[in-house]
Each structure stands twice: as structure tokens, then as C-alpha cells.
């Protein structure tokens, strides 16, 4: 099944025969059914809610984006240089990384030439496929969170104000809901009020917070926390850090020290290093990813503030150039406003109407 059809299926709710067969083997569950909504149905419903929420979060962005694509096809009916330049602008307007945009449009130019495509409509579908392909091309890091049977240590890093602390609160909540014990380390000892902010989140989600006073050594706080987590048999320890701009050598060194201190206690930790990126950030996000990756080997990205009108397209470039996948997306300031990232949903969110339209045409 082509990716394109998979996408369509995913959002049209139609099931394949294969899946219906699998369902029958679940008859046992049906027998236990007490007349309320079945577990399976519930899960499906829940799944839909997540997809729905994700789509709603992107709805506003998508609308604008969609309007642009449609306008693009309307004003440029034939495939020519003007069309590609305009397409570049559409992609750039979603903050897709500059070089990635150039790469993408070059590939489309080649494709159009090879297949002798002259009408822009015939490229619509390929644009989306190429984008997903670009995202899926460089797959050397797992897209899943690397959770351990015993202690999992997650280090959270990023520049100032992107949403590190908030995301930590939300991620902690997620694991607490799964029945795990969670501890937080107040590694931002610099910004005014940062420790209290994390404490508020700890109280909200029911997680212990290991902290020292403002101005103390963040590496020491984190060291204490890893030891405490080991001792108490905690399942997940999430370490907050102060925001730092990636061009500040001394602060990046400090981060390296924090990571080394974690390694001292457990050489396999941190099991995840999450870079938090603000979706409103433009091309600089790529520079952030590169710099933080050099110092701490990033294993995943949390893309926040997708509930706004920004699209965060730079994550396509980051995945393409560095192979770092997005693991979570932030869709608001509340405790539940966090979703697991899905590349298909994401790109679909950006291109949704476009795919629906073309597939209807194909069905006819």
C-alpha cells in the first residue's frame, strides 16, 4: 500500500480486510463486554481524539497553508520556474529549512522532467509524498522513547523560553498516568522563579522535585537527583535545565558537565536527551539542533506551541540533515496538551485538504 493510501485510510476510518480478520480473533473480549463501550472501541475513540486534537491544533496553520497551495496551483497551472519559486515560498512560509526546501524543489524539478509533467495539478500528490519521504529518509534514531525497565533518565535541553519546563510537566503527567513513578530535577538554577515553576508542575502531576537554592550548581542538583532516583527505585527521572543560547560556549560546557555527571552514576544514562524547540522559531532552530546535538547527542525533539499559527516546518530539515526525530508535540499550556508525534499526521495536517481532493478525483 502506498504511503499515500495509508494516509488516506488513516483519516477516512476505512479498514482493510486484514484488520477485520484480526478483529475477529478478539472475540473473547467481546464476550466479556458488559454493554458499555468496549475496550477496543474506547481505544479507537481515544486514538481518534488524539488525531482530532492534533488536527485541530494544526487546523489554523493548515487553513492558511492550504489556501496558499490552492492559490499556487490556480495561479501557476503549468510547471515552470515561476511555479517552483512560488512553491519554494510556500514551503519557506511553513519554516521548512532553507536547504531542505531547495533540495525538495530540485527533486521535484527532476521528477517533473523525468515524468514529463507539465500541469502543476499532477505534482500535488508528489509534493506531499516527497515531504514525508524527506522526513523518513534518515532513520538512525528510534522514534520511540527509549524506556528502561528500571530507571529511565531524560535530560531536557534548549534555548530560552521554548517550553522546556512546561513540556517536562506534561511528559511527567503522561508517565504518571501510565502508573510510573516520576521524579523531576530542578536543573534550572539560573532563571528567576524557575525552580518554583517546576515545583508547581511537580505538585500538579504528583512527582517529587529534587532541588537546591537558586544560583547553585545545576550539575550538583542533577547528580543528587540521579542518586535519589536510584535509591528510591523511581521509574522516570526528568531533568530540567536552564535555557541557553547555543552560541554561548560556557553555558554549553555546563550542559556537557551535567550530562557527564549523569553518566558518572549510570553510564547508560541519560537514556533520552530531548531538545525542546519552539514551533515559531525559524531557520535558527537548525543551528540549535546542531549545536545541542554536538554537546549532548540529542535523541529526540519536543516541538512546542503548535497550537499557534506557526508550523514548525524546520523539523523536516532537522530530521533530514541530522536524523533527529520529533518525539512529542506541545499543543497548549495545559497538562494534557502533549501528543506523541506522528510524521504522517503532521504532514497530513499541513496538506490535508490537498490529499482529500486528489484522492476523490482518483476514486472517480
Amino acid at each position: 500500500m502506498s504511503l499515500f493510501n495509508r494516509l488516506k485510510k488513516k483519516f477516512s476510518g476505512k479498514h482493510t480486510d486484514e484488520e477485520i480478520e484480526n478483529k475477529e480473533s478478539d472475540e473473547l473480549i467481546d464476550e466479556l463486554d458488559d454493554g458499555l463501550i468496549s475496550l477496543e472501541e474506547f481505544e479507537e475513540w481515544e486514538q481518534e481524539q488524539i488525531g482530532y486534537k492534533f488536527r485541530m491544533g494544526l487546523e489554523k496553520s493548515r487553513e492558511r497553508f492550504q489556501a496558499q497551495i490552492n492559490q499556487l496551483m490556480a495561479t501557476h497551472r503549468t510547471v515552470d520556474e515561476d511555479f517552483f519559486e512560488a512553491l519554494e515560498e510556500v514551503l519557506i512560509s511553513a519554516d521548512v529549512g532553507f536547504n531542505t526546501v531547495m533540495e525538495l524543489t530540485d527533486e521535484l524539478r527532476d521528477y517533473a522532467k523525468l515524468k514529463n509533467i507539465t500541469e502543476t495539478v499532477d505534482l500535488k500528490e508528489v509534493i506531499v509524498e516527497k515531504m514525508i519521504e524527506i522526513y523518513e529518509r534518515n532513520n538512525h534514531i528510534s522514534e520511540e522513547m527509549n524506556m528502561q525497565d528500571d530507571l529511565t533518565v531524560i535530560l531536557v535541553v534548549g534555548v530560552n523560553g521554548v517550553g522546556k519546563t512546561t513540556s517536562i510537566g506534561k511528559i511527567a503527567h503522561r508517565y504518571v498516568k501510565e502508573g510510573k513513578s516520576v521524579m523531576l530535577a530542578a536543573g534550572d538554577t539560573f532563571r528567576a522563579g524557575a525552580i518554583n515553576q517546576l515545583q508547581v508542575w511537580g505538585d500538579r502531576v504528583g512527582a517529587d522535585v529534587i532541588k537546591q537554592s537558586e544560583g547553585s550548581d545545576p550539575a550538583a542538583v542533577v547528580f543528587d537527583a540521579v542518586n535519589a532516583a536510584k535509591r528510591r527505585g523511581t521509574d522516570v527521572l526528568i531533568c530540567d535545565t536552564a535555557g541557553r543560547l547555543q552560541n554561548k560556549g560556557n553555558l554549553m560546557k555546563e550542559l556537557e558537565k551535567i550530562k557527564n555527571v549523569i553518566k558518572k552514576v549510570d553510564e547508560n544514562a541519560p537514556h533520552e536527551v530531548l531538545l525542546v524547540l519552539d514551533a515559531t522559531t525559524g531557520q535558527n532552530a537548525l543551528s540549535q539542533a546542531k549545536a545541542f546535538n554536538e554537546v549532548t547527542e540529542i535523541t529526540g525533539i519536543v516541538l512546542t506551541k503548535l497550537d499557534g499559527t506557526a508550523k514548525g516546518g524546520i523539523v523536516l530539515a532537522i530530521k533530514n540533515e541530522l536524523g533527529i526525530p520529533v518525539k512529542f508535540v506541545g499543543l497548549g499550556e495545559k497538562i494534557d496538551d502533549l501528543e506523541v508525534f506522528s510524521a504522517e499526521n503532521y504532514v497530513y495536517g499541513l496538506f490535508s485538504d490537498m490529499i482529500d481532493e486528489t484522492s476523490e478525483e482518483n476514486d472517480e
Binding site: D95, G161, G193, Q197, L245, K248, G282, N284, T309
Partner: protein, 448 residues
């Protein structure tokens, strides 16, 4: 990946044009494509870029570029000028109220730097305007936001008015203003919660606060790393609140900051300040030309060119080139050149920032401070016109006289003469071809 910047981007085209001697419309079109890419790469909104390219192309297609000896630099100059114009003049004055208190309201997205900037502004107004500022804690949503502002207030010893997070913002602001009046605090800065520009409820809350507080200044705080979305954000806040100024934060990072241009062109409101540190003294006035250079990824090179060209018109430059070519460049010309150079800042720093400078061997060793230039000028000024034209005629007694007249040592006089000779040799290499690189600075009025 270091940013190439516009200088690097144009270098290739300039190299190609050099052989031809004439710039065609096609050449300009290609240069404009590079300008477009440079701006997009710097996060300038694509619509703003489109309009900009249209305007600049028109100007560049006019006579000045086509006839210029140095079309690449001419294009850079036009781009720089237009960019600077677009970003408006310098205006880092806070609108003050006739009758105290002056009220400033901070608004913007989450995490932009409102609270930090509120503290910085309070400090600045107390320090350089002798004001008695007070902060109002109007963010009742973000966990520990009040705590953050109170900590900043304590650090700076500036009072913070807060009523916790259970009261409505409107109430807090109303009471805060009353408190300020009663206590003769003449400047009130209202910190507000970050909010999305599409969040109608919270945007309306800001509107209410505006009605109650009647602020003299509504400062939109924007993260300088913002991408294409900057136009939407700025437009929405401006439409609803009619903002009066903008502060761009986190410019101590390595972002090119194209958002500045986007914001400016959709709101036409002045960018007043930039944030350059997390610390409380990290607030500076906004300089349009510096920002333009930064967006173009050219360091300060553009201000250098601009400054140099302020003093040297094209004719002078042509004359200079001619002199260099014919090897009739005299110490007197050198003196005049140095006057211009002196306005440009530390020379060795300048050289490093010039496009193509890394390609010239030995240039990194050039060291010349403002003081050294003064000394050299003093020596030349102690010479007669004739001596300046024909320095080879200087004998030992004349050199002694010059040393005494300028207050420098004989050694220094000798060193200058030696350097001048070497420089002339070097210039000859640059200007008469022979497979050597053409002087990339020619036309800039610099004596290298």
C-alpha cells in the same frame, strides 16, 4: 554551516562580471536572486522579501549599478540602504506621560521575554531617566510567573505590585495603578501573560487592560529567532492593541533576525530596543543599519562601505584606482585615505569582516590601531607637499626634521616610509592583473 551572507553569495557573480566590464540586466537579475535567498535564509517573511526585491530591482536597474566600477558593492549598498530605510530611523525613546505615572504595558507570545524585558526597562528608566518605576504582576496563568517578577524586583530593588493569581488581571492592574499614584511612583510597567495572537479570550483580556491602564507605551516583545510567523503575530497584536513599540529579544544568539524586517514592514511601528542578555543590563537601543547588516549576514561590513562611500564619491574612487594603477599614489593621498579610514573603527577587525579578505595572504597580519594612524598622520603632516609627492628624496636631515616636527622617533619615520613602499608594491599587484586577484576592496576608498 556558517552563514554565507550576501557578500559571499554575490562574490561569485562579481567574479564573473569582472571580466566583462559591463553589467547587464541579466546580471542584476541573478544578483537579485541571491539577495532573495539571503533574505529568506535570514527568516524575512517571504511576502516582505518579494516586495523588497521588486523595489530594489527597480533601483538597481537604474543607471547607477550598470555604470558602476564595482557593481557588486553597489548592489550591496542599495540593498543595505533600502533595508535600513524599511526598518525606520532610530527611536528608542519611551513615550512619557505629561502627568505621572507613565504606563508601559508588555505584550507578546509565551516565552518571548516580556517579564525579563519589563525588569530591564525598569532598570534602564531608573538609571538613565531618574524614574521611580514599579512593576505590576499581571501574569496570573503561568506557574510561578509572579514569583519570577518578584525575584527580579528584589534583585533590582524595584517594587512589584501583585495580588496573587486569584484576582482578575483587570483588577490587579487597576489597583496597581492606584497604588503607584498614591506612592508617587512615576513609571508603571505592566507584565502580562504570554498568549497566542489567535486566542480570542486572552486577546480581549489585553484589550480590557489597555482600556483600564491607558498605557503610553504598548511594547510588543518578540523573540528575534521567530520565523515566518512573525508577521501574523505582529499584525494581530498591532491590529487589536495599536502597539507603540517593539523589543526584539535574544539577539545575543546567532540568529540573523529577519523577523525585525517582517515586523517592521507589517506594523510600521518602531523597533525601540533589543535584548542582548539574560541579565538585567542587557537592553540596548535598536540600530537599523546594524540590524540590516546582520540580516544580510555581513557583519558590520555594510556600515563600513556606507561610511567609506559617504566620504568618497565615485569619481574620487576612479581617480584613486587610476593613481594606483599608474603608481602615482603619494603620501598625501595616503594621508587623505587615512582620514576616512579613521572613522571606520579598529582596522584589523574591519579587515577580517570583509568578503574575500581571507583569500589574501598576509592581510591577517595587518595591525593598525587608531593611535598608530594618528602617529602616521602626524609624520606625514610634518612633510612638505613636495616631500609627500616624492618620499624617495628624503635624506637623513629631512627625516630628522620630520621626526622632531611630529614628535615621533626617527625609527618610526623610517618604518612608515618602508611600509608605504611595500604597500605600493602590493597595490600594483592587485591593480595590474598579471593573473593576480584584483583588489576586492577597490572602490571602497581603503588604502590597501
Amino acid at each position: 554551516m556558517a552563514f554565507e551572507g550576501l557578500g559571499g553569495r554575490l562574490q561569485g557573480i562579481m567574479d564573473r562580471i569582472k571580466g566583462k566590464g559591463k553589467v547587464t540586466e541579466q546580471d542584476i537579475k541573478e544578483m537579485m536572486r541571491e539577495v532573495r535567498l539571503a533574505l529568506l535564509e535570514a527568516d524575512v517573511n517571504f511576502k516582505v522579501v518579494r516586495q523588497f526585491i521588486k523595489d530594489v530591482s527597480e533601483r538597481a536597474n537604474g543607471v547607477d549599478v550598470m555604470k558602476s566600477l564595482t557593481p557588486g558593492q553597489q548592489v550591496i549598498k542599495i540593498v543595505q540602504e533600502e533595508l535600513t530605510n524599511l526598518m525606520g530611523g532610530e527611536n528608542s525613546k519611551i513615550n512619557m506621560s505629561q502627568k505621572p505615572p507613565t504606563v508601559i504595558m508588555m505584550v507578546g507570545l509565551q516565552g518571548a521575554g516580556k517579564t525579563t524585558t519589563a525588569g530591564k526597562l525598569a532598570l534602564l528608566l531608573r538609571k538613565s531617566h531618574n524614574k521611580k518605576p514599579m512593576l505590576i504582576a499581571g501574569d496570573i496563568y503561568r506557574p510561578a510567573a509572579i514569583d519570577q517578577l518578584e525575584t527580579i524586583g528584589k534583585q533590582l530593588d524595584i517594587p512589584v505590585y501583585s495580588m496573587g493569581d486569584k484576582e482578575k488581571v483587570e483588577t490587579i492592574v487597576e489597583n496597581g495603578l492606584k497604588y503607584a499614584r498614591e506612592n508617587h511612583l512615576d513609571t508603571v510597567i505592566i507584565d502580562t501573560a504570554g498568549r497566542l495572537h489567535i486566542d480570542e479570550d486572552l486577546m480581549n483580556e489585553l484589550k480590557n487592560v489597555k482600556e483600564i491602564a491607558k498605557p503610553n507605551e504598548i511594547m510588543l516583545v518578540v523573540d528575534s529567532m521567530t520565523g515566518q510567523d512573525a508577521v501574523n503575530v505582529a499584525e494581530s497584536f498591532n491590529d487589536l492593541l495599536d502597539i507603540t513599540g517593539v523589543t526584539l529579544t535574544k539577539l545575543d544568539g546567532d540568529t540573523r533576525g529577519g523577523a525585525a524586517l517582517s515586523i517592521r514592514s507589517v506594523t510600521e511601528k518602531p523597533i525601540k530596543f533589543i535584548g542582548v542578555s539574560e541579565k538585567m543590563d542587557g537592553l540596548e537601543p535598536f540600530h537599523p543599519e546594524r540590524m540590516a547588516s546582520r540580516i544580510l549576514g555581513m557583519g558590520d561590513i555594510l556600515s563600513i562601505i556606507e561610511k567609506a562611500q559617504m566620504n568618497v564619491d565615485l569619481e574620487d574612487q576612479a581617480e584613486l584606482e587610476q593613481k594606483l594603477k599608474e603608481n602615482t599614489f603619494t603620501l598625501d593621498d595616503f594621508l587623505a585615505q587615512m582620514d576616512q579610514v579613521k572613522t571606520l573603527g579598529p582596522l584589523d577587525e574591519l579587515i577580517k569582516m570583509m568578503p574575500g579578505a581571507n583569500k589574501i595572504k598576509g592581510l591577517d597580519k595587518v595591525k593598525m590601531s587608531g593611535k598608530e594612524i594618528d602617529h602616521v598622520q602626524a609624520i606625514i603632516r610634518s612633510m612638505t607637499m613636495e616631500e609627500r609627492e616624492k618620499p624617495e628624496k628624503l635624506n637623513i636631515s629631512r627625516k630628522r626634521r620630520i621626526a622632531a616636527g611630529s614628535g615621533r622617533s626617527l625609527q618610526e619615520v623610517n618604518r612608515l616610509l618602508k611600509q608605504f613602499n611595500e604597500m605600493k608594491k602590493m597595490m600594483k599587484q592587485f591593480t595590474n592583473g598579471k593573473g593576480k586577484k584584483k583588489n576586492p576592496f577597490s572602490g571602497m576608498g581603503l588604502p590597501f
